[in-house]
């Protein structure tokens, strides 16, 4: 096999023209997914069966099926239904970008809500009791005691989820979007040089992963100052 390094050098700038779309997919679905995850979490820990049951079903479905299937169902499946095309959501679902954001948000929301739940469950019961004994309301206990501690507990798992979300954005290329992967696949289809092009795109994704890891590492360090002992 001849390996064309010049092609890698040539293709990276082309691939980078898709990084804006990759970032948009990542940030929008991360933010919306986190908001969804918080809502799901609150429903899940509400203790009311009519809120808990649908949440558990939702989480089970979205964690138990491949995200590619979810993307295809949202992109190709939903428009088959007439009422979807007539609904107020159609302007979003008509666009491939909208479908990708919806799919990534729904998927990451399910995962993150479980991560958050793990964090909330990981908070020492004694701390919640201490809050209760001081007369803090359930809401205040959650906001000022449980949540801040849970966030610190969740951060490592959450950073992993952001990285896997970043990797999942590449699946948007299957529904016509020209993110980095979409551009890479188009170049491959034109040049018949899968090794060079996919290795280039791999390098770019690896750099993004590294940046995300470092970012969360820095955040964890800052947020766990309280655990460092003086000694």
């Amino acid at each position: 096999m001849s390996f064309d390094f010049a092609l890698i050098v040539d293709s990276i700038p082309k691939i980078l023209t898709g990084i804006g779309l990759t970032f948009q997919l990542l940030f929008l679905s991360a933010v919306l997914g986190l908001a969804l995850a918080i809502i799901l979490l609150l429903m899940r820990i509400s203790g009311r069966w009519y809120l808990v049951a649908p949440t558990m079903v939702y989480i089970y479905i979205f964690r138990g099926t491949p995200i590619l299937v979810q993307i295809f169902i949202i992109y190709y499946g939903l428009p088959q239904l007439e009422f979807v095309r007539d609904s107020i959501f159609w302007p979003i679902l008509r666009e491939a970008f909208g479908c990708a954001i919806v799919a990534l948000t729904l998927n990451t929301g399910a995962y993150v809500s479980e991560i958050l739940r793990g964090g909330v469950l990981g908070v020492d019961r004694g701390l919640k009791e201490a809050g209760a004994a001081l007369g803090l309301s359930a809401r205040h206990r959650f906001i000022y005691v449980t949540a801040p501690i849970a966030i610190r507990l969740c951060l490592p798992a959450y950073s992993n989820d952001v990285i896997s979300l970043m990797k999942s954005t590449a699946l948007a290329s299957t529904i016509t979007l020209l993110d980095m992967m979409g551009i890479a696949r188009t170049i491959v289809a034109e040049t018949y040089a899968p090794y060079e092009i996919f290795i280039s795109v791999m390098v770019v994704y690896l750099i993004l992963t590294w940046i995300i890891q470092r970012g969360f590492g820095w955040m964890e360090k800052r947020m766990s100052r309280h655990v460092r002992s003086e000694a």
Binding site: D124, G126, L127, E129, A130, G131, A132, A133, L134, G135, L136, S137, H140, Y144, V145, P148, I149, R152, R225, H226, V227, R228, S229, E230
Partner: protein
């Protein structure tokens, strides 16, 4: 010697805590059996007994960290039921100190102290700060105000926990084995703070095996075993003339220890 509140002289005073025939179950296990106990304002009760005797459960029922199954608990005029509207308001009048301190690890010492006054009492920042500093001085660690709990020794943390409860200006203080998790050399610094508190007339229920402390400050020592109150008497009588065999056995074990 601390002046003790005598039953006779205060007979007209209403009970600030009243338990009548309280039962508590954990599944099939009965943790409290027909407990009745009344505490008057300013009274100091020390509850002792072997582990698993239900003494922690007893005081945890008083601020409803555990919900009792039968009987009646009245705290400061509010009966604790599942319908009790503002359990948070009742709790805010009842301070509690835990065996494992339970300081909020993500907040500095001063913020641990300011949190509840700010949120529950709606105190201004400077008010809450002043109160917090005053109590930190009382427990003799004002210089630790800006540290995190993990940077303090166990004894220091427990003093902070007491100060945190006091910042709410409670009518009653509950202590759940406050010195059991401490290294021996730190026990006295915590007990000293508690003795000071007793001296000032705070109503206290203390679950503890510190018999010296009980002798010194308690109006009443309550001995529990297997979920029941076996014996309750003023300390002189309790220690010098125990009546029940189980009490005698317990005292012999704990005092020879």
């Amino acid at each position: 010697m601390i002046p003790k509140v005598l039953d006779m002289s205060d007979s007209d005073q209403t009970n600030i805590i009243q338990l009548e025939h309280v039962d508590k179950f954990f599944g099939a296990f009965q943790a409290l059996k027909n407990i009745s106990l009344s505490v008057k304002k300013g009274e100091r009760i020390v509850v002792c007994g072997p582990s698993g005797s239900g003494k922690s459960t007893l005081i945890r029922c008083i601020n409803r960290l555990e919900e009792h199954d039968n009987g009646k608990i009245v705290v400061n005029g509010h009966e604790l039921t599942s319908a009790v509207k503002d359990i948070d308001a009742v709790r805010s009048e009842v301070g509690m100190v835990f065996q494992s301190f339970n300081l909020f690890p993500h907040l500095t010492i001063i913020k641990n102290l300011m949190l509840a006054p700010r949120l529950v009492r709606k105190a201004s920042k400077s008010e809450a700060y002043d109160t917090a500093m005053r109590y930190l001085e009382r427990v003799k660690i004002p210089e630790q105000a800006d540290k995190y709990p993990s940077q303090l020794s166990g004894g220091q943390q427990q003093r902070v926990a007491i100060a945190r409860a006091l910042c709410m200006n409670p009518l009653i203080m509950l202590f759940d084995e406050p010195t059991s998790a401490l290294d021996p050399e730190m026990i006295s610094e915590v007990l000293d703070v508690m003795i000071d508190l007793a001296r000032e007339g705070m109503t206290m229920i203390v679950v503890s095996h510190e018999m010296g402390f009980a002798r010194k400050v308690a109006d009443l020592v309550v001995f529990m075993d297997q979920g029941e109150i076996v014996e309750s008497n003023p300390p002189e009588e309790f220690f010098d003339n125990p009546r029940n065999e189980r009490t005698k056995l317990f005292l012999s074990q704990i005092l020879s220890h």
